[in-house]
Symmetry: C3
Subunit: 139 residues, 3 copies
């Protein structure tokens, strides 16, 4: 079975957001797969996807603090500055996290660990709605 | 062919460890696949998987040194500190490396480059045994 | 359908390079797949693959500037220094970006976003030609 769908995520503020439920609720086809893989691919270069802790909101806000520190705005060595001070850091962060997640499917569901949630990493101040291509492969 | 298995890695100290053989030795099913993909997915948010140099132990210890420098403990901007000074850095590192690896299978074996080995990145001081879901897809 | 091919990229200078066309032009098999996934796996530990902005050359040169700053040569804590000052930073960068990309295939083509291109990240001063194993899965 090969299944593919484009999902439009609702717009979110700059930072890290749990979107596990928003994705799963739009993928009833997951239930038809006993063993397989799900790939989530975000079609942008200033937002990304990652997996991290799904309980404490502090983890999400500390992630934002740390990456703003590690990838600062207005670094003296940036030349790509026309689209605003949040633009080049957003490109760098998007490559640090990466555009896609490959998650095993087991018995009709994403086989995430107990504490794992899917994060949208929104690196722009006003990123708008983001598009994710989901591909399910399995039997 | 879709094959899936949960592998429990033995507990390891904080740092970077080559686990290629520990994984391969538990996957006799690899030999049945001529062309395909293997996905290794770690079900944790404070340990991760990566691929790097499989010879010099210096590479592993320098990785630990560098990431402790780049993602320090006790950063003044961390709020998530209840579970110890190694906790929030472990979450950040786990997203930098990512939870999963997708490796081609060719003629019954993982098609790694000559110098590539699979690393377990153990970011906690006492992480204990870690769980990896392996999915093999191929023919 | 499972298809696999080894592609040799031409040698490039240290830095970030768009290789989308070099890859696609060697993959006529893409056209045979309506729905599926393409995996690109680089068999090296001092070069990597990522996806980022496909227009402005400034993004590529700013990426190089930033990662040279974030992962410096000659850090006092490196022990792995025999192969030159660009060696250990190259290993660290290769794990930050990762060795592989999983990109959806839709209607016979890589389903990249409008602004997305595939980058070769060459982290060595003289890396030479790099080898990428491409696996296409789909129907």
């Amino acid at each position: 079975m090969f299944y593919q769908k484009e999902i439009r995520l609702k717009a979110r503020s700059r930072g890290f957001h749990i979107i596990t439920h928003e994705l799963e609720s739009q993928l009833p086809e997951l239930h038809k797969i006993k063993t397989g893989m799900a790939n989530f691919f975000i079609q942008h270069t200033s937002a990304s996807l990652t997996i991290n802790e799904n309980v404490s909101p502090d983890v999400r806000s500390d992630m934002e603090s740390h990456f703003n520190h590690m990838v600062p705005e207005n670094a003296p060595y940036y030349d790509h500055t026309l689209e605003g001070s949040d633009d080049m850091p957003a490109h760098i962060k998007s490559s640090l996290f990466g555009p896609s997640l490959s998650i095993p499917i087991t018995n009709g569901a994403l086989n995430l660990g107990t504490w794992q949630g899917i994060y949208l990493c929104e690196h722009r101040n006003h990123g708008g709605s983001r598009k994710v291509v989901v591909t399910l492969i399995g039997e």
